[in-house]
């Protein structure tokens, strides 16, 4: 009984903390760097989704509106499951509480971007009425595509290449502790100290950080939803409560990945009944702030710069893996 209460309590605390994270990122870091007063801390994270709940629900312009609308829910559920399986109460569930399962859930979360992009047909891209269709007509009968389709193809490439750093960083603690089950990794660190304090751990943490930025689609790896050419990318047709879910999912993902870091590299699983939860919350607050200070100074990377950077991070990850074997 105590276990279940502890699990629910941790999840609720996680949810509450994740609501404040976007606001902290926006006001304390971005606004300070840009030398202005930013919005209040509660606005981007809590008040914005809340306001969206009270707007009129419209039918999005899409070939499969109900599938399109349910995609954020699927994303939110997969992030929720990742958080669930990092809790110590869930370690006895065997294969579900292992690195392989976490990689699977992260994959689901990435794949929904591809679906969102191909299903969204917004007025800002192709349906904007313009008097003539084929002026100049150098290439008649060419297929015209929506902006979001471009975004979907980019998300596909991001899945193919961009997820390498994070996944390699996830496997480093598994190699060091000789097991892929989260319970064993935590137990190993209780005995030998946190993995962060070894050579492989430090390099692994850096690679994890880069993978964190890529997964959250922050500047500089923001190419699927860059404001400069695809306006908002896959999220274009979401309104009212579904958009609120998008906002919440983002905050939740920020929190969950930070918790994953503290479980794998620091050995502190989130349990509400010990002081360790404060360390987890500290890491969860520190990670977005570090990410924001890095992303405030970076432009959008096109594929020309994206491939070398990801390649470099992957090589670094492989070096850490080799160091872990030694």
């Amino acid at each position: 009984m105590e276990h279940i209460l502890g699990a629910i309590g941790t999840i609720i605390i996680g949810f509450i903390v994740s609501l404040w994270l976007p606001g902290l990122e926006r006001k304390l870091i971005h606004a300070r760097i840009q030398q202005r007063i930013g919005p209040p801390i509660s606005s981007p994270g809590i008040m914005a989704p809340l306001k969206f709940f009270f707007k009129q629900t419209i039918k999005p312009y899409s070939p499969l509106p109900r599938l399109y609308n349910s995609l954020p829910l699927i994303g939110l559920l997969s992030v929720f499951f990742i958080l669930l399986f990092t809790l110590p109460e869930a370690y006895h569930l065997g294969a579900l509480a292992s690195i392989v399962a976490i990689v699977g859930f992260l994959k689901i979360e990435e794949v929904i971007y591809v679906f969102m992009g191909s299903l969204s047909k917004s007025v800002m891209s192709l349906r904007m009425p313009f008097p003539d269709l084929a002026k100049g007509a150098k290439h008649p009968n060419v297929q015209r595509s929506f902006l979001e389709d471009i975004s979907a193809m980019r998300a596909f490439r991001l899945i193919a290449f961009g997820s390498f750093p994070l996944y390699i960083a996830l496997f480093i603690p598994a190699v060091i502790s000789r097991s892929i089950f989260l319970g064993d990794i935590v137990a190993y660190q209780q005995i030998n100290g946190p993995i962060l304090f070894s050579v492989a751990g430090v390099i692994g943490a850096i690679v994890f950080f880069i993978g964190y930025i890529i997964l959250l689609n922050e500047y500089p790896f923001v190419i699927i939803k860059a404001k400069a050419d695809v306006i908002e990318g896959p999220y274009m047709e979401y309104a009212a409560k579904w958009r609120a879910l998008i906002y919440i999912m983002r905050g939740f993902l920020m929190f969950t990945l930070a918790i994953l870091f503290s479980v794998l590299f620091l050995g502190m699983p989130p349990t509400i009944f010990t002081w360790g939860i404060l360390v987890n919350i500290l890491v969860a607050v520190l990670f977005p702030m570090l990410m924001a200070s890095f992303s405030a100074f970076a432009p959008i990377f096109t594929f020309k710069q994206f491939y070398p950077v990801t390649f470099g991070a992957t090589i670094l990850g492989v070096v850490a893996l080799l160091a872990a074997f030694i």
Binding site: Q35, A228, K304
Partner: protein, 359 residues
Amino acid sequence: MGTVHSAAIEPYRARLFVEDEIVKDAEITVGVNHRGVERIMEGLPVEKANSLTEKICGICSGVHLWNSVLVAEKGLEIEIPERASYIRIIVAELERIHSHLLYLAHGNEVLGHETFSMRLFYIRETVMELLRMIGGNRVQYGVPIIGGVRPRAELDEMKTQKIREGIDYIREKVKEFADRFTSDPMIMSRITGICPLSRKDALRLAVTGPTLRATGVEFDLRREMECYDPFEFDIITQDDGDVKSNLLVRVFEIFESVKIIRQALDNLPEGAVVDRSWEMQDTDITKSYVEAPRGTLYHSYALEDGRVRNVVIRTPSMANIGAMQHALIGHHITDAQLGIVQCDPCFTCTDRAIEIVKI
């Protein structure tokens, strides 16, 4: 990319023919912004027509008015006092500074760098305050009139002191920004070699202004204009014609403008600022050319019984935008968006048609 888009301030439509995210061909359509300015100007009294030309564009409004007034003065053969000419040049150079700062800020925003964009907008506020002090409004200040300069724009000790402080501040901050900008490898890799325009193509497609100077051709209309004779400044050129060259040309031009303003303030002659002792006659079509922040600007009209006839206006962006269609080929879509912005397009200036007879 349709008429309303986040990276474009003005409405236009760009069709990019894309294969696997590389642009194979481009077609930029203007014409959404057409208001028929030349048509409305037909038959207006001269002063009213001049004040309408100011509203053609919000960024380069001062040069439109200046050029229009120059046409009338050339046709009526009016000599303006020297102090008025110096004040007009100070306002024109301040406008060049603020237009280039807006270009840099907008370019950074398209690049994705919000921090630099905000810092540049902050520096730009100083210029807006100076222009408001001289002319009365932040955006359309209306300083030149036929015969000289509006008496409100008279510069006294306090105003000259403020202008000096303002431009010193701008020069220092823009220099810091330029050093910071060029030493950042992420940004440099993003803008070097993107959408270049070769020298031959630029000359063939009739490109003017800083876009032409960025490809290596040394041509600045200010050297040909009589009123700029007492001032000494360099012509800035860069070599490649890509985004980096365009940005650097405009940054250095800001420094040159600061130099010109300092010289003008140091040697400001005494005298009246306006000369109202002219009389209205009928003239033929007179032409006038001036160097706007984007290139060569051309106005011409004839005067008949105090009213304006046969207005023709030709703005530099018309050719520059066409040249950009050529420069975009072979680049990725995000770079292509940067390529359209690199020539500093002002679509509101561009939409023009001569339509005197309706079918």
